[in-house]
């Protein structure tokens, strides 16, 4: 497949010029993993850049869509599942990329205002780690589920993948959105999203652990922010709007007593 890489790149270029939209639809046609090789062959081919650009765009939109909901209206579970599976896929894609073949400039140029907002949150909470790279380094671990909330905190001195090492300094300075995703975002976003209200049968078990689906929305968002101790890593905008049923009880208690 990659032998035909040159041709494909041309078609990508053409499409890019034609409509100014990232042509990663074409680019995305190649299965994961092979892109790295393409990157090595030709540095950062425009086509690969556009793939990254689109990935970034899709990622930004994904997060935005997961945040954007109508208070008081139940979200479509189908839509949420599809969005989160897309997030997972992007995550996988990024891991297989090893974060080594793209430049921060490319990534940032494609960033949606909303995802940038999230990135800023990330900036507040993290030191100069390069989680994306660090995680790429733990290739042996990469078999484990990428979304496990029990991910150990990333250490700055984690062994680095060879591919990513040349660009590591650039990444850590730029606080790249990829790093944000592979380290914090998925875990923390999901941690803050709550399904407990969905569960009529099994409330206790559902509210205990971190939850994945943004299926319910609190009308108590403001109170939540005021009362709730910000004990999570990132006080992201998602968090301000979502909470679980236990905390609702807690708030009710406070309100009733006052």
């Amino acid at each position: 497949m990659l032998g035909r890489g040159v041709k494909r790149k041309w078609s990508c270029l053409e499409e890019l010029e034609a409509e100014g939209v990232p042509a990663a639809l074409v680019e995305a046609k190649q299965p994961n993993g092979e892109e790295d090789e393409g990157g090595l062959l030709a540095g950062v081919p425009p086509c690969h850049a556009s793939h990254l650009q689109q990935r970034q765009k899709v990622l930004g939109l994904c997060l935005e869509k997961l945040q954007r909901y109508q208070a008081g209206v139940e979200l479509s579970l189908r839509r949420s599942v599809l969005l989160i599976n897309t997030l997972r896929q992007i995550h996988e894609d990024m891991r297989s990329d090893g974060a080594g073949t793209c430049t921060p400039a490319v990534l940032l140029s494609g960033v949606d205002p909303d995802s940038r907002l999230l990135r800023d949150d990330f900036r507040e909470d993290t030191s100069l780690t390069c989680p994306g790279c660090a995680e790429g380094g733990g290739d042996g671990l990469s078999v484990s589920p990428p979304l496990s909330p029990e991910f150990p905190p990333q250490e700055e001195n984690t062994p680095l993948d060879q591919k990513s090492s040349p660009t590591i300094s650039a990444f850590s300075d730029a606080v790249n959105p990829m790093g944000y995703l592979s380290d914090l975002a998925l875990d923390d976003i999901f941690e803050d999203i709550d399904t407990s209200m969905y569960e009529t049968s099994d409330l206790s078990s559902a509210s205990g652990s971190s939850l994945l689906w943004p299926v319910s929305v609190s009308l108590w968002a403001d109170e939540d922010v005021k009362i709730r101790p910000l004990n999570h890593g990132s006080p992201g905008s998602l968090q301000s709007c979502l909470m679980d049923l236990n905390e609702l009880d807690h708030i009710m208690e406070i309100l009733v007593k006052s």
């Binding site: 990935r55 899709v58 939109l61 599942v81 599809l82 897309t86 319910s216």
Partner: protein, 447 residues
């Protein structure tokens, strides 16, 4: 009755359009489901405002046999009201998600209608006579003193204006935690199934206080959830068989004889993914939005975002037929994802003889595919061509290169005008197409 279009057979022509012409469309007026009854005499629509409107086919006049009868409003009623779930602090919309007719058993008609949570069984009956001449009650309805009644009078039935009454006969509530996406009456005519995102329940039409959970794909840990149920339907002849489709593009066929809980499927239909067309949107566009058995029960049809597939129940590894509905959108998926259109749920339907299928698209276009000739056609539901008996002109979307005359470019398609719901008369070439708040009825014009 082959003939999707053009050719020698016949052409589709405009018959009627229902609904306001106003440019401003009230959200509540948007049609959310369309369904013919088993004879085709009645056509029901449900809307986002929770109303059900039933149209009846007027008998064609004997003097003008070339003119087919029209569908006129027969009954309108409020099926569902908006509700509020106080436990979850969530609104429950009144929007009618699905309507399914029951086979007619007597003079009355019955249908099931559902919103996200509650299914209702409605009886639609006619009354054109009333009993007159009771002397047990006063004119204002109070019982008269028995001692003052000196003679026995037999009431007589007097003709009156035809009145169509819709009355709720059963309410099937509190069985679905998630959104109901499908209901399907079983071929035993006694039971039906209802499916939400994660579960399928089996009900008896007479019993409202219990249902049997026959499929439950909810994982113990919701973090592991990667797939939801998108549609489900009972087999048209075998009352123990049903299918359900998923957001991953697969279809599972279950046999209720195998076990009470059909978590293990009997058949699993899946087409291997083409690696050359893989993208970030692969899963979203492969999500199945509708599944329908053919009338014969031999085939089933599934609709995903870009295509319609016909599966032989005896072959699980790939569909026997695949029809592209709007392949030109493949290069636009990013924008369609951005504006949320990619999550639209298009439905599909068979014609009466299973020889043709129909499904919707954007820009008020809808598509028909003739399974025998492999011909396909794109038609448009629009006010412009809605003159009586006007023949529908086939429409074409230019796909790259130069745009020919009469073609429309992909960029000028209106993605707010989408045809999600269509229905095909069970016997005749009459179709009903829901375009936002308008219902178009088209029929064949025999040359």
């Amino acid at each position: 009755m082959a003939g999707v279009a053009g050719g020698n057979d016949f052409q589709w022509c405009f018959s009627q359009v229902k609904g306001a012409i106003d440019e401003d469309v009230a959200e509540a007026d948007i049609i959310s489901t369309v369904e013919f009854n088993y004879s085709g005499e009645l056509l029901a629509t449900g809307d986002k405002g929770g109303r059900v409107v039933i149209f009846q086919h007027e008998q064609e006049s004997k003097n003008r046999p070339h003119l087919r009868g029209e569908y006129n409003v027969y009954s309108t009623f409020q099926s569902h009201e908006p509700e509020f779930d106080y436990l979850k602090s969530l609104e429950i919309e009144e929007k009618i998600n699905k309507i399914r007719w029951l086979p007619q058993q007597n003079a009355a008609h019955f249908l099931l209608s559902t919103n996200d949570k509650t299914i209702k069984l409605w009886k639609i009956s006619e009354r054109d006579k009333r009993a007159e001449g009771y002397n047990l009650k006063d004119e204002d309805g109070r019982l008269r003193d028995p001692f003052r009644i000196t003679s026995l009078r037999v009431p007589v039935l007097m003709p009156m204006d035809l009145m169509v009454e819709a009355s709720p006969r059963r309410i099937f509530a509190n069985a679905h935690t998630y959104h109901i996406n499908s209901i399907s009456v079983n071929s035993d005519h006694e039971t039906y199934l209802s499916a939400d995102d994660l579960r399928i329940n089996l009900w008896h039409l007479e019993i409202t206080d219990r249902s049997f959970n026959i499929v439950d794909i909810k994982p113990a840990n919701m973090e592991e959830l990667t797939e939801v149920i998108t549609a489900a339907e009972c087999h048209p002849h075998q009352c123990n068989v049903f299918v359900y489709s998923s957001s991953k593009g697969t279809i599972r066929l279950c046999d209720m004889r195998a076990a009470a809980l059909c978590d293990r499927h009997s058949k699993f239909f899946e087409e291997p993914e083409d690696p050359s067309s893989r993208s970030f949107f692969s899963e979203i566009i492969s999500s199945i939005s509708d599944v329908k058995f053919s009338h014969s029960g031999r085939y089933m049809m599934t609709r995903d975002y870009l295509s319609v597939k016909v599966w032989d129940l005896n072959m699980e590894n790939r569909p026997v037929e695949t029809y592209q509905v709007h392949e030109y959108l493949r290069s636009k998926l990013c924008s369609l994802y951005e504006n949320d259109c990619i999550f639209d749920k298009f439905e599909c339907c068979w014609n009466g003889s299973d020889s043709a299928i129909m499904t919707g698209s954007y820009n008020n276009f809808f598509r028909m595919f003739d399974r025998n000739t492999r011909r396909d056609i794109t038609l448009e539901a629009s006010r412009e061509s809605s003159k009586p008996r006007a023949t529908l002109k086939p429409r074409k979307v230019s796909t790259g290169g130069k745009r020919k005359k009469d073609e429309i470019s992909v960029d000028s398609l209106d993605f707010n005008k989408k045809i999600l719901h269509t229905a095909w008369h069970p016997k005749d070439n009459v179709i009903a197409v829901a375009a936002t708040n308008n219902l178009y009825i088209f029929q064949d014009k025999i040359n």
